[in-house]
């Protein structure tokens, strides 16, 4: 048999395989950038990568779920932590894609960046088949994020005031260690214990790592957790100030931290402690 015949035979087999590889009807699609995700393809990928934690029904009851903390997401509820859309609304397909791509730091959800963009889009399409909400509701409109205000000591100090005033410390703790007086009592929407974010560990947040990501978290809230949306409570400039203060709580060498350390060294007596009996800055 010549090489040509072998190649022809393989080509015929290949064509045949591709022909019969058409997926049966899954109406659900996703749209991420220029890509259109197919739920049929996503189902295969879900079985391969996700089923162990999120379960065959997408309800977060995979075989590993009992031993995982925090628990895997329940897709049947269609409640997602990381969104660009207002609290209570469905996320955009891009939001879900970003979550899959980014993973969730300090959880068992790894970054699936090694998957191709098409594979992630297919997974997003399949995830959307688990809840009827995707048939009856449309995703929310992404919130508007104004340009970041300049990083100044005034901004940091004002953010510190807001941290006290808005009682962020009650959950996140006076130093942002996630050990506030309410921390031990918090549960998520499925009554599982949940810990507030500890700003002193790691360099990333669950929903991103930039100042813009942090701003977005304030304004959209983290649905399914006690972390509310502050979109109706604080103004955009205040939110940026809060972002700048929170950056000082991280164990990173950020511009905000530099400003704060310098100020604290020069004005030690003017800094009031954060907590139940303090007034902030």
């Amino acid at each position: 048999m010549t090489l040509k015949k072998v190649l022809v035979t393989f080509a015929l087999g290949l064509g045949f395989s591709l022909l019969i590889d058409l997926h049966p009807g899954f109406a659900q699609e996703s749209h991420v950038g220029n890509l259109t995700g197919n739920a049929g393809s996503g189902k295969q990928l879900y079985r391969r990568y996700c089923i162990g934690c999120h379960g065959p029904q997408g309800d977060g009851n995979g075989e590993n779920a009992p031993w995982i903390d925090p628990k895997p997401r329940d897709f049947t509820a269609a409640t997602f932590k990381c969104r660009s859309t207002p609290t209570g609304t469905l996320p955009t397909d891009e939001d879900l894609d970003h979550a899959v791509q980014r993973g969730f730091v300090t959880t068992n959800m790894p970054s699936w960046n090694p998957l191709t963009p098409q594979q992630r889009a297919d997974l997003v399409a399949y995830i959307k088949t688990f809840s009827p909400r995707w048939k009856t509701e449309k995703p929310g409109t992404p919130i508007n994020i104004p340009p970041e205000t300049p990083v100044t000591i005034e901004s940091v100090l004002h953010g510190r005031e807001l941290f006290q005033k808005m009682e962020c410390w009650k959950c996140h703790g006076p130093a942002g260690h996630g050990d506030g007086p309410s921390a031990a009592t918090l549960t998520d929407s499925k009554d599982n214990p949940i810990r507030p974010y500890n700003f002193s560990t790691g360099s990333r947040f669950k929903c991103g790592e930039t100042n813009t990501d942090l701003y977005r978290i304030f304004m959209t809230g983290v649905d399914g957790t006690p972390m509310p949306s502050f979109a109706d409570v604080i103004q955009p400039n205040d939110a940026w100030d809060l972002v700048h203060f929170l950056r000082t709580l991280q164990s990173l060498h950020t511009p905000e931290e530099g400003l704060w350390k310098k100020y604290a060294a020069e004005h030690p007596s003017s800094i009031k402690p954060i907590g139940p009996d303090a007034g902030g800055q």
Binding site: V6, G13, S17, L18, G52, P110
Partner: protein, 491 residues
């Protein structure tokens, strides 16, 4: 790929075998498409590796890192390239339950049948009076065990990873298949990682994590091939001793490695007199690959590799009481292997082509000391070959696979030795499937069924089948086939 060969009394054309095997593979694929799939869920010489200890650590199913274990998918490749780290701040051992121990056992109870013809067999069993050596077939079959892997690997600390793999044959005789420590992400860059110890070369197509388990199918012929007669013991598929600098892009689409290795094919210990005499030479291996996103077809990867090595042509010796010990290799002469490989997905269909060219110095080919003149007519032996492997993933729990392999001797060491021009050529086929009824984050079990057949012209098959008998004639092709049915499990 043209020509004729003989099997017993029947003469078949290449085309017939090719069509039969390829057709059978495609028929299995077609059949599998119509079968109802289950809800979601490495043999005699056991070359393959997988480690559910990682699945246990991270709570991921085998299929997250493996297209079909033990073969890695790109997610698994990234995990491996990152030093067995997912990067979710839970990689350090401190996150694990104190009782967690990242160890994996793997073995394959199996039934297999081995058949090899054109061997020198006694005409009278026992070699008694009147017995002569005749051409015959050795066929063995029965229940058996594979070797066993006892593998531990993971992270010692953030960005310090390790692997230790004591591996045994089926009689529980152990050796260190690999043992290394790796310093990952040096300077905060994924482009710089240094590994030291005994490890697999950075092959784009790994033989340690492939799907074939049978005697004749359970090795890439080209990874262990040297032109018959050469004293070069190098096998591209053998784990080597040395250090490796490797790097990769964040998603491992781009990968490179540079290795400096001892010139002893991975044999440990400066053993004198037998096994692996100390050799003061060093080899170099270079590998590079680049992957491309092909949309809904999947990820396509191409790569190139080259290995430049040297082997001794004589030894410093010590003779005492009639026994000569080889002490240190001397008179090193060079050899090299270069090639290209690919990994191409067409949705559920995967193709793995590889092409390699090998060349040995004439002294290695003739076995003469470099201090002596070469025999008249001696040439530097060379070979060219490769394989085309294909997988069809019905679902994460069922895969069909097949492989065609061909090696031709481009240059014999002796041009006037009277051997046939095709002496040393190899042709090999293998087909099979693996079904994984258990593929959880704690353990894996695969039902493995495989058929493999090789033709080695005038020399024993690389599988070692034949019970130790010699070939009857260097002018005859030796056919060796394997059938294997086994339960491949790891925990």
């Amino acid at each position: 790929m043209s020509g004729k060969f003989r099997v017993g009394a029947r003469a078949l054309r290449w085309s017939a075998i090719n069509v039969l095997l390829i057709g059978a593979f495609l028929a299995l694929v077609s059949f599998s498409r119509s079968s109802t799939t289950a809800h979601a869920a490495p043999l005699p010489n056991l070359h393959v590796r997988a480690i559910p200890a990682f699945a246990r650590k991270y709570g991921l199913p085998c299929s997250a890192c493996h297209t079909a274990w033990p073969e890695l998918n790109n997610f698994g490749q990234v995990f491996r390239d990152n030093g067995y780290q997912l990067g979710n701040e839970r990689d350090s051992p401190i996150w694990q339950n104190p009782s967690y121990f990242p160890i994996t056992f793997r073995i394959t109870p199996n039934w297999h049948r081995e058949s090899t013809d054109h061997l020198a067999i006694d005409s009278v069993p026992g070699g008694g009076t009147g017995s002569t050596l005749v051409s015959g077939k050795v066929q063995q079959n029965g229940f058996d065990l594979s070797g066993m892997d006892l593998w531990t690997a993971g992270t010692l600390y953030r960005n310090i990873s390790f692997s230790l793999l004591p591996s045994s044959d089926s009689t529980a005789s152990f050796h260190f298949e690999n043992a290394w420590v790796r310093f990952d992400n040096l300077g905060g860059s994924a482009w710089f990682n240094v590994k030291a110890g005994k490890f697999e070369l950075d092959n784009l197509i790994s033989e340690k994590r492939f799907l074939f388990l049978s005697n004749n199918g359970g090795l890439y012929q080209i990874y262990h091939y040297d032109v018959p007669g050469t004293t070069n013991d190098f096998g591209y598929g053998d784990n080597q001793l040395g250090v490796e600098l490797a790097g990769h892009s964040k998603n491992s689409y781009t990968r490179y490695s540079v290795s400096v290795l001892s010139s002893n094919d991975g044999n440990v210990g400066f053993t004198s007199g037998s096994g692996a005499p100390a050799n003061r030479g060093y080899d170099v291996n270079l590998a590079f690959s680049q992957a491309f996103n092909a949309g809904s077809w999947g990820l396509e990867r191409i790569g190139a590799f080259s290995y430049f090595g040297q082997r001794p042509t004589y030894y410093e010796t010590s003779t005492n009481g009639g026994t000569t010990l080889d002490l240190v290799g001397l008179g090193n002469k060079s050899f090299y292997r270069i090639g290209v490989a690919g990994d191409f997905f067409l949705k559920k269909l995967e193709f793995l082509p590889l092409f390699m060219y090998g060349h040995d110095n004439a002294y290695l080919g003739t076995g003469g000391a470099s201090t002596s003149a070469l025999p008249p007519g001696a040439k530097a032996p060379a070979f060219v070959g490769g394989f085309l492997e294909s997988h069809y993933y019905v679902n994460p729990q069922l895969v069909f696979f097949g492989r065609f392999e061909k090696i031709d001797v481009a240059q014999q060491a002796f041009v006037n030795a009277g051997f046939p021009s095709d002496y040393g050529n190899v042709t090999a086929y293998a087909v099979g499937y693996r079904w994984y009824p258990i593929m959880f984050s704690r353990a894996g079990l695969a039902f493995h069924n495989e058929y493999a057949i090789t033709k080695s012209n005038g020399f024993l098959p690389l599988s070692g089948d034949g019970g130790g008998a010699q070939v009857f004639s260097t002018a005859s092709p030796v056919w060796s086939s394997s059938i294997m049915i086994g339960f491949d499990f790891d925990f």
